[in-house]
Amino acid sequence: MDYLTIIQILDSSVRLATPLLLTCLAGLFSERAGVVDIGLEGKLLAAAFLSSAAAAVTGSIWIGLLAGIAGSLAFSMIHGLASITFKGDQLISGVALNFLAAGLTVVVGQSWFQLGGRTPSLNGAERFSPWTLPFSEALAKIPVIGPAYDELISGHTALTYLALLSVPLSWWVLYRSRFGLRLRAVGENPSAVDTAGISVVRLRYAALVIAGVLCGLAGTYLASLAAGFVKDMSAGRGYIALAALIFAKWRPWYALWATLLFGLLEAIGNRYQSIALGDIVIPVQFMQALPYILTVIILAGFVGKAIPPRASGQSYVKER
């Protein structure tokens, strides 16, 4: 394995990790505020569909991005309505949203475009084009650093850089702002927040709005990368993001590393479908199952103790 190959695998990891990271941060905000969000997958799918539909119709991915965020937000608000306002079970609401998204995208897509639930292919300005960072061609000739800068750091789409930026931003919001303190408190002990005279409901809705926007970005990223919508194209990424969230122990920086690890495993699985170690050949099925095997290991609790926000999954009732 030469240096360039490693760079290419890392490059692929970043591309694969971007939607996971955005989705994982979405889940982070939501769960930190005490709302379990198993509907991430559905939001991804809804955003991917709407962004790709809007981009195909208007010819601009930026309008697509707005539509994707709007779709994801709408799903977030339904989740909020069911689980915050009406105090329904958060898991059930999330699962229902996943099914709703899987069915609705195909049915609506068929009636809009008559392509069997697909959207038309996106070309040119209907997709995000890669950003070539300054000096990348000049620097590419420098050994070691050059290719790394040119291949790995430069040449991603705007959303990838946005996703990376959102990590320190999330950290700052959660740990350095008043809003973040309250948000975390609402996930740990909503009664205390309520006693202090702050609205639990409003905070939780705010968290869901942030989650909706982040999922909208992730879904649009998928649609732009694949140049269109295909049914069920999120392919379980929402669930992987949830697993990464637990792995990350509900912390933004850990979320970055966790999703990059998942991305890396998938990239390695794509690049080396079977690895020969002396006489033993690791079969492709094993390589492709790696992210999932890792998920099981994490969920079984081998990687330290992951303690969720104490009030997550419970709707807040003022007086019992």
Partner: protein, 329 residues
Amino acid sequence: MTLMKSFLGAAATLALTSGAAMAEPAIIFDLGGKFDKSFNESSYNGAERWKAETGGTYRDVELQSDAQREQALRRFAENGFNPIVMAGFSFATALETVAADFPDTKFTIIDMVVDAPNVRSVVFNEHEGSYVVGVAAAYAAKGDTVSFVGGMDIPLISKFACGYAQGFKSVKPEGKVIVNMTGTTPAAWNDPVKGGELTRAQKAAGSEVVFAAAGGTGLGVLQTAADEGMLAIGVDSNQNYLQPGHVLTSMVKRVDNAVYDAFMQGEDLEPGIFVMGLANDGVGAAIDEYNEALITPEMKAAMDDATAKIISGEVVVHDYMTDETCPAY
């Protein structure tokens, strides 16, 4: 509620009576969906062609899950549809039970052999068609590496890969064919993002031409091939128009012909095993206005030569499904 019930009841009765009276044909699409730009769409086109030519009507259903296979089959058979065509190898188990229960109904299964007196099994020699596009890939590639992206890791998809590898190696014996599968679950048919990543990885490993036999995932492969300046080869339906100038050719599988024939014969459908290969235009490489410029005269000559030799039996393409090994890997 009662109004709703009576409506539903009326609709059901209507469906029952109309079905029984006319013995319309019916078709069941597999999980990829009717408009997958690939296999199912091809069978849909066959049914539509029959409809346009004869003015008849047919009933169809798109499956949503594996569990619905037997249910859908049984429902159509009970309602008197005849013949019932199913597009996809996954119907085999369900069909074995249902065909025995409805001896007077004729069934056609595509891509699989079911041994029953009222079943027509249509199988395609995908390995032959894949061999021909493999030859084309060898001429199109300047270097000696090409690649393949499969959908779900099943023997049928390896049959495509193996034929492709054999065709490529018949021209460049020292060349390399990178074979990747998207996954091991049905989700592998609908993951264009992963298809694109696989294609990028193959390009990084030196591949110049990628053959995608992967349903919806294949669209991601074709898109990435166009983005990265590679050539792609489509599958099942003619996919040349999807990325003009970047799709070298498509390995078409005339599923539409199989469906059309079955519908045409109607209730007098002749049972048995029907093999559709290069000889009877069951498979082949598509050339149209979108890829004419990519097919050089010498490439075309080599493809025609390979086709003729396979038809005459001079070249025998190994079928992966017979022994689950491939001599060309």
